[in-house]
Amino acid sequence: MFLPSTAHICAALLALCTGCASAAAEIPVWQRPGLGGAVRPEMGAPQPGCLAPDFSLPADGGGALRLSALRGEWVVLHFTASWCPYCDSEIEHLGQIANGFAARHVRVVLLDVEEQQDVWSSYAKSHVAPSVLSGRDAAGRVAATFAPAHAQPAFDDRAQAVLDATLIIDPSGKIRLFLLPDTAHFDPTFGALRAELSHLTAGET
């Protein structure tokens, strides 16, 4: 017999409160291998099942980078900074994901958080793969809208809570996976995220 855990009850209550559809899973996402950083219901919105907050930021290649303009495609959204050693070790793998999943209509979007334009632009030219869409969140306002209210409560600057976070957003704009930095495990290759993305987009080719 299935007995709902506290987490399941919280997820259901949150879904009722926020209007987000919450898929009850047998095993909480954060208990699955490599997904220990997954947001938990008690952290607050946004949660998987919710529409991802839309944004429009200056794109590194010119023009605007608007999330809602990518509806119809899967989006891997990642928050980064050039000074962050962990982010730096991940960035080449994000390029690999962009190339490897392009046929499944996956776009990788990289948002730089709270850096000066010249610093980020110089870094992006030499580190970000051409297949990755990138933009700069100069004041961290967009990043802050993605920060679950109760995640990392010590951070006054809420943008800090999602630095190095990664989301999978489906073609309808809903969050399907939301990984905050896992404080107990670091995998620069995004192995678990790739597996999840592969599963979610299996019917796209």
Binding site: W83, Y86, C87, F155, Q160, T183, H185, F186
Partner: protein, 233 residues
């Protein structure tokens, strides 16, 4: 001056001095066990103390965290910087300790962890003499960027002021007293100008700071086992 040098080395070895901030380093904080991180400005506790002909700034880095060194392994990383300013004093460039290697995803980066001692000598024309006995207000600017073993925090720049005596007072640890039988201790040998480190040989960075702080007053003869031999100039 010789006695003061000995007492100060004991202080350098044993005591953090006046502290600013509140990150503990002895025990893993409860919020760390739960996967919650410290705010960046709480990762490093700073102690500022006069030492010989300069100021020793000790950075106590919270357990489980590291900060980039003063010479990061990548030009994009944020170098740790200590800057002192005072209307009463002039300072030379800081001397930072050696970096501690940290392995991150198949590469090694240069960090500080646990404790980093930064020594800032008074400039030659600073006007500090051995007979000075007044205080000086020193403005401290500290910039660093911290990470844990799996994620990083935003860079932070902290400012604070502290009042330091221009003539360091004799430290209470060890000098003129009997060393305890166990534990860390530095004290004057009873019959010759030697420092005896009961906890073992002092670290090279600690000795480098000592020599730089007291190079005008003592001549270091050498380190033999756990004894630092020197004479007064």
């Amino acid at each position: 001056m010789l006695r003061r040098a000995i007492a100060s080395l004991a202080l350098l070895t044993l005591s953090p001095g006046a502290s600013f901030g509140c990150a503990g380093r002895q025990a893993l904080p409860a919020h760390s066990r739960q996967g919650e991180l410290l705010a960046p400005e709480r990762v490093v506790t700073v102690a500022v103390a006069p030492l010989g002909h300069g100021v020793l700034v000790t950075l106590h880095i919270a357990h489980g965290y590291h900060i980039m060194s003063d010479r990061p392994s990548d030009p994009n990383f944020i170098a740790t910087r200590v800057a002192l300013e005072s209307s009463d004093l002039k300072f030379e460039s800081p001397t930072y300790p050696p970096a501690v290697p940290y392995t991150l995803a198949a590469r090694t980066i240069a960090t500080f962890r646990d404790r980093a001692e930064v020594f800032v000598r008074y400039a030659a024309d600073s006007g500090v003499t051995s007979s000075s006995d007044s205080f000086a207000v020193v403005d401290v600017r500290l910039r660093y960027q911290a990470c844990t073993e799996s994620t990083c925090l935003f860079p932070v720049t902290r400012y604070f002021s502290t009042r330091i005596p221009l003539r360091p007072r004799a430290g209470p640890s060890g000098f003129g007293a009997k060393c305890p039988q166990a534990g860390a201790c530095a004290c004057l040998h009873s019959t010759s100008p030697q420092l005896v480190f009961r906890a073992g040989t002092p670290s090279a960075p600690a000795l480098a700071v000592f020599v730089r702080a007291f190079q005008d007053d003592v001549a270091v003869i050498g380190l033999v086992n756990d004894r630092l031999n020197f004479t007064a100039k």
